[in-house]
């Protein structure tokens, strides 16, 4: 990485030059197309989301079976438009705006903490007309761009611990703020984004290993040592959600008894119902009408965090597998864009986006099938919700922009355009 990092500062001008210079051949040519595979994956997931939500939310609002589907379609449409627009913009311009973007990230989260409305015990969103805005979702993209800018600025000092510490601290501040909402999931995403960006940037393995060790120690302290000493860093329900997958139970009678005793929902209920939904889908799914877990509303949040269970029940192993393949395509393309990016900034942004997608997909899907802790992490593009859908499509828009710019740059250099 270090040999190329020297060229990074001139990266933007390379692209801006052909656009501003009338003589440039790039100007006379029609703009290069977006990555078709990336677009295909995104559209495919959007269609899968709409197909799945149709059943899961049919009876959510009596008399208005299409309420959520209609909204999801609108979010997807807005997101796709934003993606296309962003794909046409040179991402490199964002590098200069990194402080502004970081400030926007922090202010947004603070605004939510200060003025947000509470749903399901946490304050994550500001109600706007027609839309409830979750700053922590958009924050994932903002943080990616801001951190990329920060790392590129210190490109020559990537081996220094100071750089690693600064980057991690820059991610930790917003992460702690969203964890305070409390939105543990987004906080974890922020940290993972920062970690993967360091990995891509070329931070030495020892430092990365140190970070991993630090995370392990913190987890042990938070979940085991601190509660043993009477200090509860996490709220009890958060701990329960995180550890439920380690001791699952499908004894609903016992679970309900415990719930009525404590007055709090037991996450094992949701976990068990999720597994029943997915398992009962079998090879080809139960179809919309016979998906009793969904139509009977046995699985809470089957339209948001647990939407993958809705896929599993309705469309079975085939449907769930297809959705996973679309995610694999998406992640492969993100890694591909990372590699083909014309500059370090592009690579870092692509790395951050890839990290975000990978982590969210694995943690969310893993949660629904009982191999990952329950965290409030959405399934990108599938889960219902404007903030999540639009944020993901903005992130994909960044990938498109990096792709387009990389191809334009290559074309300028006379190389064969690459996919």
């Amino acid at each position: 990485m270090s040999p190329t990092s020297g060229t990074t500062p001139i990266g933007p001008s390379v692209i801006q030059a052909p656009e501003r210079t009338p003589e440039s051949s790039a100007r006379t040519r029609p703009a290069l197309p977006l990555d078709p595979l990336l677009t295909l994956a995104v559209i495919g997931l959007g269609i899968a989301s709409v197909m799945t939500l149709g059943t899961a939310t049919r009876e959510a609002i009596p008399g208005n079976p299409h309420y959520y589907v209609t909204r999801q379609v609108v979010y997807l449409a807005i997101g796709l438009i934003l993606m296309v627009v962003l794909g046409r913009v040179d991402y490199a311009r964002l590098r200069q705006l990194k402080y502004g973007i970081y400030a926007l990230l922090i202010l947004g989260i603070l605004a939510v903490l200060g003025a947000g409305n509470e749903t399901k015990g946490s304050t994550r969103a500001i109600s706007l007309p027609f839309f409830s805005f979750q700053a922590s979702e958009l924050g994932k993209v903002l943080l990616t761009v801001a951190l990329a800018g920060l790392i590129v600025d210190r490109a020559r000092r990537l081996r220094e611990r100071d750089t690693t510490a600064r980057v991690m601290l820059a991610a930790l501040v917003p992460a702690m703020l969203v964890i305070a909402q409390p939105d543990l999931g987004s906080g974890m995403v922020y940290m993972v984004i920062a970690f993967v960006m360091l990995l891509v940037a070329g931070t030495p393995w020892q430092q990365l290993s140190g970070l991993v060790a630090l995370v392990c120690v913190s987890v042990a302290v938070v979940l085991v040592a601190a509660p043993a000493l009477g200090v509860h860093v996490l709220k009890p329900y958060q701990t329960q959600r995180l550890t439920a997958f380690l001791h699952p139970s499908s004894n609903f009678v016992e679970i309900k008894e415990k719930e009525s005793k404590t007055g709090e929902p037991d996450p094992r209920y949701q976990l068990a119902q999720s597994k029943i939904a997915i398992g009962s889908g079998q090879k080809t799914g139960r179809g919309a009408a016979d998906s009793t877990q969904l139509t009977g509303n046995y699985l809470p949040e089957d339209d948001t965090d647990f939407v993958f269970a809705a896929v599993g029940e309705q469309y079975g192993f085939v449907g769930a597998g297809l959705v996973l393949c679309l995610y694999a395509l998406l992640i492969w393309r993100a890694l591909r864009v990372l590699v083909m990016a014309k500059d370090l900034f592009g690579s870092l942004v692509a790395g951050g986006v890839a990290a975000m997608l990978m982590f969210q997909v694995f943690v969310n899907v893993g949660m629904t099938i009982g191999i990952m802790p329950i965290t409030g992490i959405t399934l990108p593009l599938m889960s219902y919700g404007g903030s999540s859908v639009i944020t993901t499509l903005l992130a994909v828009g960044l990938l498109q922009s990096i792709y387009v710019q990389a191809r334009a740059s290559a074309a300028l250099k006379g190389r064969v355009p690459i996919y």
């Binding site: 009977g296 509303n297 099938i369």
Partner: protein, 651 residues
């Protein structure tokens, strides 16, 4: 930007991690959905599918001619579907009030029923009333929009067209109780199923019950019904039961029993209850069996209050003791029999050679053993009489002497009574049959032992197992010889024992101890035969024919010859066509009026019948029980019916 080896490695690490995670997820999905999917399908069904039973119509019970005596009628129950009710608060209360006014119930009561039903089965409609009447149902159907959430559902209700007739024999039905669910007789029965609780309904329950169907309801997580394509399983109606009862004789018997009781009451006797049994001595078919006071089993079609039930069971209510209406006195009543026992004494003594039938015994008013006198009723003196005459006039002194003589002859009386059918269960197809008691030295010793053990344990207070701890005495045997003392048996056992005498008499001394029974055949609900019920005799007996003939002659003369104890009761009866062998009995109870008994065998070659009648505190056998038997015999043989009270004041 050319890709550096370092970047390539790191991207490869990322890609490898992604590949690994995808691999794990795919494997897990394969496991959940393909390998163990079936299990999750079942768990999903357990979540959402609720089975609602569809009650199977209970099989009918017919008499021997095929007339229904227990039927299942279908009526519409008024039900409320909780999810279809108007919103809680004023609109719902107004509905409850409107409905309550129509059904004659309070709004609060309806609300309580709905709340209770909803907690028990949230998805099921709640039954409000099962006997609303056609008028009310029509109003509800016509004004459906005024009663949102109120529906009608056909339900099968047990009805007994003859009301109190044979009530204890038929029994009644009710929802299976927690206790019954644990019994093997109710294995596989679902909670809430209506099952037979007593009598034939109980004994033949598994045939009559049928198999409930199942309607399958899909419910959501809150318990509300969802549209479903699940197919219901239709119920299978119960088999019908044909019984040996002769409806005409049964009704006549009950009428005559009431008449006899009223008659006894008119002459100042308490006559609190009674029973009769009429059986065919050849095969044990019960032609009529009844117990008074009776009850109306139709009352059990809807839930009874505790006090209503206690009153029927005869539990002490306040201070006043109420006669038990649910008890079938013919089967569960345990009584001394008075002189109706004498034929057994006579047979036992004759067979063992204890007496010579022509030898005159029992002269004088009383027999004295040690200093204790054993006397005839009314201090009558029959002089020394032979066996036939002793049975005819029912001489107690004669049989006291027989008892005294027999005491040193290895319990010949007890053994004969046991052989004929007394002192053990008969095997009738009804629940709660008593075993009875024939006292003998071993029994006495055992009771003494129990009494002592009980007193030892309790230190004070009463044990009431025996009045006093004392060894068996000759007086015990003498009391038994005339059907008194510690003897306890039921009208049914007496009918069986007389049947043994009767059928042995028919066949030259070779007789059978029949198993009395009511069940004849089990049929499909559409009439096809499922199973003919057969009841093998308990055992075969061989009695010396000449001895038996003397005994039969004695009780025939008692019912037909001047001076016979029940001869005046049978005045005008064609003894040639239908010879009557009858024995009166008057059982003494300390502190109570005498218990009236009569046993009769009418020897028709084609339709022989043995009738046993008893009336508690009804006075002498001839004055109360015997006329009831005659009325029954008259009905059975198509003779003019007249109640002729006898005058014989013998025990």
């Amino acid at each position: 930007m050319p890709v550096s080896p370092q970047l390539a490695l790191r991207v490869a690490v990322l890609g490898g991690a992604a590949l690994l995670m995808f691999g794990i997820i795919f494997f897990r999905l394969w496991y959940l959905q393909v390998l163990t999917g079936e299990q999750y399908v079942q768990e999903a069904a357990a979540n959402s599918v609720r089975d609602l039973p569809i009650a199977a119509p209970r099989g009918q019970i017919f008499d021997r001619e095929g007339q229904p005596i227990a039927a299942s009628t279908v009526t519409n129950a008024v039900q409320i579907v909780p999810s279809a009710l108007p919103p809680a608060g004023r609109p719902r209360l107004a509905l409850y009030r409107r409905l309550g006014a129509l059904l004659g119930m309070s709004a609060a009561h309806i609300e309580a029923l709905v709340v209770k039903g909803r907690t028990a089965l949230p998805y099921a409609p709640v039954t409000i009333k099962t006997d609303a009447g056609r008028g009310v149902l029509t109003v509800l159907a016509e004004r459906q929009n005024e009663f949102p959430g109120v529906v009608q559902k056909p339900v099968s209700i047990r009805s007994y067209p003859y009301g109190e007739m044979a009530a204890q024999v038929l029994g009644y039905v009710g929802q299976v109780s927690e206790l019954e669910l644990k019994k093997s007789a109710f294995r596989g029965v679902q909670q809430g199923t209506v099952v037979g609780q007593e009598g034939l309904e109980y004994y033949y329950d598994r045939y009559l019950r049928g198999h409930d169907g199942v309607s399958r309801v899909q419910v959501d997580s809150a318990g509300y019904p969802e549209p479903t394509r699940l197919q219901p399983t239709p119920p299978k109606a119960g088999y019908s039961l044909k019984v040996t009862l002769d409806l005409g004789l049964q009704r006549e018997g009950e009428k005559a029993l009431l008449e006899g009781i009223e008659n006894a009451r008119a002459s100042g006797k308490p006559a609190e209850g009674g029973a009769f049994t009429a059986i065919d001595p050849r095969n044990g078919q019960i032609l009529a069996i009844g117990s008074s006071p009776s009850f109306n089993p139709n009352k059990f079609a809807k839930p009874l209050t505790t006090s209503e039930y206690e009153a029927l069971k005869g539990e002490v209510h306040g201070r006043q003791e109420i006669p038990a209406r649910l008890t079938n006195r013919a089967v569960s009543g345990a009584y001394p029999t008075g002189s109706t026992f004498k034929p057994f004494t006579a047979m036992g003594a004759l067979e063992a050679g204890v007496i010579n039938p022509s030898e005159g015994l029992g002269a004088g008013q009383c027999i004295h053993v040690s200093t204790e006198p054993f006397c005839n009723a009314g201090k009558a003196d029959y002089g020394p009489v032979g066996l036939v005459e002793a049975l005819k006039v029912s001489s107690d002194t004669y049989f006291f002497e027989v008892g005294e003589l027999a005491n040193s002859h290895h319990e010949v009386i007890q053994n004969m009574a046991r052989e004929l059918g007394i002192g053990h269960t008969t095997g009738i197809d009804l629940p709660s049959e008593i075993e009875g008691t024939i006292p003998d030295p071993a029994w006495r010793a055992k009771q003494n032992h129990l009494q002592e053990a009980c007193e030892h344990e309790k230190h004070h207070g009463t044990c009431d197992i025996v009045a006093e701890v004392r060894p068996w005495s000759v007086g015990d045997n003498m009391d038994l010889a005339v059907g008194q003392g510690d003897l306890l048996t039921s009208p049914l056992q007496m009918a069986v024992a007389y049947s043994t005498l009767a059928n042995a008499y028919m066949h030259g001394g070779y007789g059978t101890v029949v198993t009395p029974h009511l069940g004849m055949e089990i049929d499909e609900s559409n009439g096809g035969l499922v199973q003919s019920l057969s009841f093998r005799p308990a055992r075969h007996v061989h009695l010396n024919y000449s001895d038996l003939s003397l005994v039969m002659q004695g009780i025939h003369e008692a019912a037909s010859q001047p001076g016979g104890t029940s001869a005046d009761v049978w005045r005008g009866w064609d003894q040639e066509q239908h010879p009557v062998y009858g024995k009166t009995g008057t059982a003494e109870h300390t502190g109570k009026e005498d218990q009236s008994w009569y046993m009769a065998y009418v020897g028709d070659p084609n339709r022989p019948i043995v009738i046993a009648v008893t009336v508690e505190q009804g006075g002498f056998g001839a004055e109360t029980a015997a006329p009831i038997a005659r009325l029954m015999a008259s009905q059975y043989f198509g003779k003019p019916e007249q109640f002729v009270a006898g005058t014989s004041k013998t025990f």
